[in-house]
């Protein structure tokens, strides 16, 4: 800690003057560590420790069927790999996250561009499009199940009989559309802030140079939105890998497990008492998130600097 910079600007330490009270450096006196300790303790105790335990329990036979827990090596991973649920969960979650991020950001950006000017009309409708963010994801799921059930409102209005939530191919896409709908208001706000941060002279200059709306968007606004894109894409991708409520409320993982993302699988298997197997899936989710998040953040940051 000896290299701690003394940040007092007003009174540069006169030669020979004490560097702090007693032998402690100034930073330690003015901003003592113990202010950070409660937060570090709770975070370590209830976030880091479970994640560390998650590197041990997948390799045991922890379950509700017997009291003792013994080391069993790779048995659990072999089980979930052989019954196909491992690859299916990885694929379903990645497709879900990708589509949800595309829809959430697409809807959010279109809304932000539509409601960009600061008029009373626009402010009102920004609040309207933010409403879905405030409704719980579980409730959102039930609303859309009532709309999209085969006996539901959409089929009754259109006079059709489409099983919206019963297709092993397309239902996943529909559920991600619902996810995009739920969170588009948040992306919209962040894109609006990004648009507001673009200097007015720059848009004026583009206009004088004869750039139309399309050209202005692609050459000026879109590059200037890079930080907002980084934030939105990262939070949308990572957040939707942790999805549960919307899927559980609309399809419960079906039909034929075609929408069974990681958390749905864990919930189901945990309910059957196979704790170690659920923990193995949780470990795989952790590794997949890390494998996606690190290149994503690094890549998007680099993109910001290049634009």
């Amino acid at each position: 800690m000896a290299d701690t910079v003394v940040r007092t600007r007003r009174q540069p330490a006169a030669p020979g003057a004490p560097k702090g009270v007693g032998r402690l450096p100034r930073a330690a006196v003015h901003h003592p560590w113990w202010f950070a300790l409660p937060a570090i303790a709770v975070f370590a105790g209830f976030f880091l420790v479970p994640n560390l335990l998650n590197f041990y329990y997948p390799f045991t036979d922890w379950s509700s069927y017997h009291a003792d827990i013994a080391f069993t090596g790779l048995d659990n991973l072999r089980t979930i790999a052989e019954d196909g649920s491992l690859l299916r969960a990885i694929r379903t979650t990645l497709v879900y996250a990708l589509l949800a991020a595309v829809f959430q950001n697409g809807f959010g950006l279109v809304l932000a561009l539509l409601l960009e000017d600061d008029s009373r009309f626009n402010r009102f409708f920004r609040a309207v499009f933010f409403l879905p963010v405030l409704i719980s994801a579980l409730a959102t799921g039930y609303v859309f199940r009532a709309l999209l059930d085969q006996d539901g409102a959409v089929n009754s209005v259109l006079g059709t009989d489409v099983p919206w939530l019963g297709s092993t191919t397309w239902t996943l896409v529909i559920v991600t559309l619902i996810h995009g709908w739920k969170w588009m208001g948040l992306s919209m706000l962040i894109y609006l802030a990004g648009l507001k941060g673009i200097p007015h002279d720059m848009l004026e200059a583009a206009r004088i140079d004869g750039a139309g709306p399309w050209r202005t968007f692609w050459s000026v606004r879109w590059p200037m939105l890079a930080p907002a894109v980084t934030f939105n894409v990262t939070t949308a991708l990572i957040g939707s890998m942790n999805t549960f409520d919307i899927v559980q409320a609309t399809t419960g993982g079906g039909p034929a497990a075609s929408t069974e993302v990681f958390n749905i699988y864990m919930f189901r298997i945990f309910g059957q008492g196979l704790y170690a197997q659920a923990s193995a899936m949780s470990l795989v989710l952790f590794l997949v998130v890390v494998a996606v998040a690190i290149p994503l953040v690094v890549g998007l940051r680099r993109r910001e600097q290049m634009l």
Binding site: P32, F46, Y57, A127, V128, A153, V290
Partner: protein
């Protein structure tokens, strides 16, 4: 600005708002006022027979709504307070001190922004600590999960506060605790509004972690009760009760948003785009 855009834009906004937000909300509103026979096959028709009062009363009693509301408040409010106060203390140290150790601790503490909580082993740990199926356990889990968010937002915010404010107080003989409570915390007010709404948004509607930590039973929160109302076999087609429940459950969040709208919007946006 072309005339097409000038008149087309508001028309498009109205159309989108009507289809994307209006239709789902309308469905919730009318279904929650219908008798069960009409609500079994949900549609957009206005109720033939209005009985909102009976439905809402049923949802309140059958969904254990008052108990759920109390349970939700008893875990969400302490979690939010802890996330804010503990987060502010840590953010202050992380923003003001400079050393490898501090940067490393900061990096670890904000890792929860990206990493998923290990929900299965959380259950294991809470059982060993005797906190399984308890409110303190749930509060600890929520606090651990959302501390990263508040530390991240607050550290960025404190770095922008001039150090001179603290120095002036120090000259007057204020101790670090006094400086923290009397100067740093009050200055954090704008970011506190944002952090509050973000944590509330997630914790108020969370059902996944509450399942594992609280389970059903006496301590079930509002979303857990909603899940039980909606999945119980007996109520399988009880859309009128489900939606009455959804309306009551969503109202507190909408109220919070309407009260703090301006602060929330500016807070969410200023923290994100840096």
């Amino acid at each position: 600005m072309t005339p097409v855009w000038r008149y087309g834009r508001p028309a498009l906004v109205l159309l989108l708002a009507g289809l994307a937000v209006g239709v789902p909300l309308w469905l919730v509103a009318v279904t929650s006022a219908k008798p069960q026979a009409e609500a079994i096959r949900p549609n957009l028709d206005p109720p033939g027979h209005w009985q909102p009062a009976a439905n809402y009363a049923d949802a309140v009693s059958e969904g254990e709504m008052l108990r759920g509301l109390l349970n939700s408040l008893l875990v969400v409010v302490p979690s939010v307070v802890l996330v804010l106060i503990l987060g502010a203390g840590a953010a202050w140290v992380f923003a003001r001190r400079k050393s490898r150790l501090v940067s490393a601790a900061y990096a670890v503490c904000i890792s929860g922004l990206l990493l998923p909580p290990a929900v299965i082993t959380i259950v294991m740990e809470l059982r060993q600590l005797g906190l399984a199926n308890s409110r303190p356990g749930m509060i600890a889990v929520y606090t651990g999960m959302y501390l990263s968010t508040s530390i991240f937002f607050m550290t960025g915010f404190i770095r922008a506060i001039p150090l001179e404010l603290e120095e002036a107080a120090r000259m007057d003989g204020a101790t670090p605790s006094r400086i923290f409570w009397r100067i740093v915390l009050p200055l954090l007010r704008p970011v506190v509004a944002t952090a509050t709404i973000m944590v509330m948004l997630y914790a108020w509607s969370d059902v996944f972690y509450a399942f594992f930590v609280l389970g059903g039973g006496d301590r079930a929160t509002l979303p857990l009760n909603l899940y039980q109302v909606a999945s119980a076999q007996l109520y399988l087609e009880n859309w009128h009760l489900v939606f009455a429940y959804v309306v009551v459950m969503s109202l507190p969040m909408v109220a919070v948003f309407l009260v703090g709208q301006r602060k929330i919007v500016s807070g969410i946006t200023s923290g994100a785009v840096k």
